[in-house]
């Protein structure tokens, strides 16, 4: 009898191990108050509800890219999903900071978002090509000093960079008059416009600052370019593909946390997509171009 019970228990244990799904950890590599943190929370919410391929979904939010990459990345052994930015990568290639480098070629990229910065001002009477002023930026965004340099070189101006602790602080500084201009990434421009400010894109548009003034800058297309890549580590190809499919699904549905966060649906309930899902070699080339442009020299 005893042997039977033990055998039964062994079978049950083996069975449960054979069917055990792995856990998934979402590691936020950004600050605790920024966009990466909010998107990690949204993925945590959506994937926890789905629980198809993964048993438990964990969220690790150290609020610091150095700790996330230098300290935690190697310690997490289960499948891991994390965001990484081309400007964050660029910053670490200059011997500055903490050397938190991530080679996206060695990870499986499941989502790709290319975005461009906006130049905003509260006073519509001033013109950045003529009226020299102070330009507020998010201090931790590596690309922005170079963008200001591109503006100064193109228009022979001498704008001064002021680095704030996040986009939010820069937006308030614009409206209280501490700075004349700010550079923000979406959806910061919408926030400024809602408060009566004006914004113009800095690249890849006929309305962009450089296109409007017909100024040729080296790599004009890449001015203020920034790419966010969502990477998967410690997973098999099947697991990564399944995760990518799940992420794509929740981005295409309007009733998910990530869709609500990025206000990704129009009034008719159609999902507006800004992400790219089918990753190929061209994405890696664009990533490298963006990192090269953003690398401060």
């Amino acid at each position: 009898m005893k042997k039977t019970i033990i055998s039964l228990m062994m079978i049950l244990v083996s069975f449960s191990f054979a069917n055990a799904k792995e856990d998934l950890t979402i590691l936020n590599t950004g600050s605790k108050t920024g966009g990466f943190s909010q998107q990690s929370l949204a993925y945590y919410t959506d994937l926890s509800r789905m629980k198809k391929e993964f048993n438990i979904v964990n969220l690790v939010n150290p609020g610091n890219k150095c700790v996330a990459v230098n300290s935690l990345l190697s310690k997490i052994k289960e499948p891991l999903l994390m965001p990484w930015g081309s400007d964050m990568e660029a910053k670490q290639r200059t011997d500055a900071g903490c050397g938190a480098t991530v080679d996206i070629n060695s990870a499986q990229v499941v989502r790709f978002v290319e975005k461009y910065q906006y130049l905003c001002q509260a006073n519509s009477k001033i013109d950045i090509t003529k009226n020299v002023g102070r330009v507020g930026v998010n201090a931790s965004a590596a690309a922005l000093p170079k963008t200001i340099k591109a503006i100064n070189t193109s228009f022979k101006t001498n704008h001064k960079k002021v680095g704030y602790d996040g986009w939010g602080a820069a937006i308030i500084a614009l409206f209280n008059g501490e700075v004349e201009y700010i550079i923000v990434s979406p959806p910061g421009n919408a926030q400024v416009e809602a408060k009566g400010g004006e914004c113009m894109p800095l690249s890849r548009s006929d309305d962009s600052l450089f296109a409007k003034h017909d100024v040729l800058v080296k790599n004009t297309d890449l001015v203020a370019s920034n790419i966010d890549a969502w990477l998967v580590y410690n997973a098999t190809e099947e697991q990564a593909n399944a995760l990518a499919a799940n992420l794509k699904k929740i981005h295409y549905e309007c009733d998910t946390a990530i869709s609500r966060w990025q206000k990704g649906c129009d009034s008719k309930g159609t999902a507006i997509q800004t992400s790219e899902w089918d990753i190929n070699k061209s994405h890696y080339t664009r990533w490298e171009d963006s990192v090269t442009w953003n690398t401060i020299k």
């Binding site: 909010q38 610091n64 900071g97 102070r134 939010g168 602080a169 937006i171 809602a194 408060k195 609500r260």
Partner: protein, 431 residues
């Protein structure tokens, strides 16, 4: 108009946050994660303001009776409670803090409601020179009034500032005193506060209660004479709390600490000092929500989590009817404050019962709770060894300095990042 379910949930979470040392609002909100996803925007704001407010009301009670910090912002009450000589003074401090907190909260909420159309003007408060001036003034006042020798306080302040800079500094884009990978995150707040502030205080109190009993003589007193006879002072500390509550990253910690230290300059009466501190603390508990409501910008990590929940439920600061939202929030906030007052005030009559409990059990329990809270945080961040090493290094230092007022050190530790950031922005703006 009155949202009973949100108030009950918020008060229950606030009770928890106020009584468990080192828990914090971020972890408290995370504990209620699934529930928060189904709350409406006004409900979320009510819950958040209830958590902060009730934890302040409740947290000041163990802080005053046993010197046990529930909430970081109750540090002044923790320290000052060692100067309360009798049970009646402890009782006065609890009831005075409850009334002071009520006055601070309600006056700020009414002020915000009346000024709702002009709240946008708080953007002018977010001026770097003004920030820097406020933080410098607060630092000077704290060093000046801390109760140590001035040089000692200055050394503690400098040490705290240096400890606060350890780790990767995003403003300077460089690591400072980083010897292992874990140190990029810096010294965790909960470890520094537990080892250099809570532990020395607990040891001090344990020895104190072994040797002394609080004087049980009856004195005639009236809470009205402590507090309401001087509306000018109460208004002043509400104003201090209102403005300092809006400072990113510091909020109520700065409100309570600055109010306390200003009062230290004027009086040696520990009851009045605690009342001033709690008035500022509660006033800051409401004003810290204004940047989020007006600009959609969170100023603490717990507010970032709140914003996430709010956005999940359709919040957009550009489309929200701030007047309507404020009316709803203030009405519920009044009820929350009445609950806070009802929870805290009657306990002032139970002081003698609290002192009958065997202190060995009380302090052992608190040490266990603090250790569990810290180790949970360590486990969550895959840094158990790092946290343990820090505890073993810092705890003996804290014990050795138990007779000093450690607030300059802890305050400087907490503000160092904001202060350095403001200095660098100031330099970029004007030099």
């Amino acid at each position: 108009m009155i949202d009973a379910s949100a108030i009950i949930i918020g008060c229950a979470l606030g009770l928890f946050a106020g009584l468990v040392p080192g828990l914090g609002y971020f972890t408290t909100l995370l504990l209620a994660f699934p529930l928060m996803l189904y709350m409406s925007v006004p409900e979320l704001l009510i819950i958040y303001s209830s958590v902060v407010t009730i934890s302040i009301y409740v947290g000041s009670i163990p802080a005053t009776i046993y010197g046990i910090p529930g909430d970081t912002a109750s540090m002044p009450a923790v320290y000052e409670s060692r100067n309360l000589k009798s049970e009646i003074q402890v009782s006065q401090a609890i009831s005075g803090a409850a009334f002071g907190g009520f006055f601070g909260s309600v006056s700020v909420a009414i002020f915000c409601l009346v000024m709702v159309n002009y709240l946008d003007t708080i953007k002018y408060f977010y001026s770097t020179p003004l920030f820097l001036f406020l933080l410098t003034m607060a630092s000077v006042i704290i060093i000046w009034t801390a109760g140590n020798k001035k040089l000692t306080s200055l050394l503690l302040y400098v040490s705290g500032f240096m400890l606060g800079l350890v780790g990767y500094n995003p403003h300077l884009d460089m690591p400072i005193l980083v010897f292992t990978d874990h140190m990029y995150i810096g010294l965790p707040n909960e470890v520094v506060i537990a080892t250099l502030f809570s532990l020395p205080n607990i040891i001090f109190y344990f020895n104190y209660f072994k040797l002394n009993r609080k004087d049980t003589s009856k004195e005639s007193y009236s809470v009205w004479s402590i507090y309401f006879v001087n509306p000018l002072k109460s208004t002043f500390f509400s104003v201090v709390g209102f403005f300092t509550g809006m400072i990113p990253g510091l909020t109520t910690i700065l409100s309570s600490t600055l109010s306390y230290n200003i009062m230290c300059y004027f009086t040696k009466d520990p009851v009045k000092r605690i009342v001033a501190s709690e008035t500022g603390n509660n006033a800051g508990a409401f004003s810290c929500l204004l940047p989020l409501m007006v600009f959609g910008i969170p100023i603490t990590s717990s507010e970032a989590l709140l914003l996430y929940f709010m956005e999940q439920n359709g919040f957009s600061n550009s489309t929200v009817d701030l007047g309507q939202l404020m009316k709803h929030l203030v009405a519920n906030f009044m009820v929350v404050n009445v609950i806070g007052l009802v929870l805290a005030w009657p306990l002032s009559n139970c002081v003698k019962y609290f002192y009958r409990i065997d202190m060995r059990y009380v302090f052992s329990m608190v040490l266990i709770v603090i250790t569990v809270a810290i180790m949970y945080s360590a486990w969550e961040s895959y840094s158990i060894l790092y946290y343990l090493s820090l505890i073993f290094i810092l705890a003996p230092i804290g014990i050795a300095l138990k007779n000093l007022q450690m607030m300059p050190l802890v305050f400087a530790f907490l503000i160092s990042d904001t202060m350095l950031g403001s200095m660098l922005i100031f330099k970029q703006l004007y030099f």
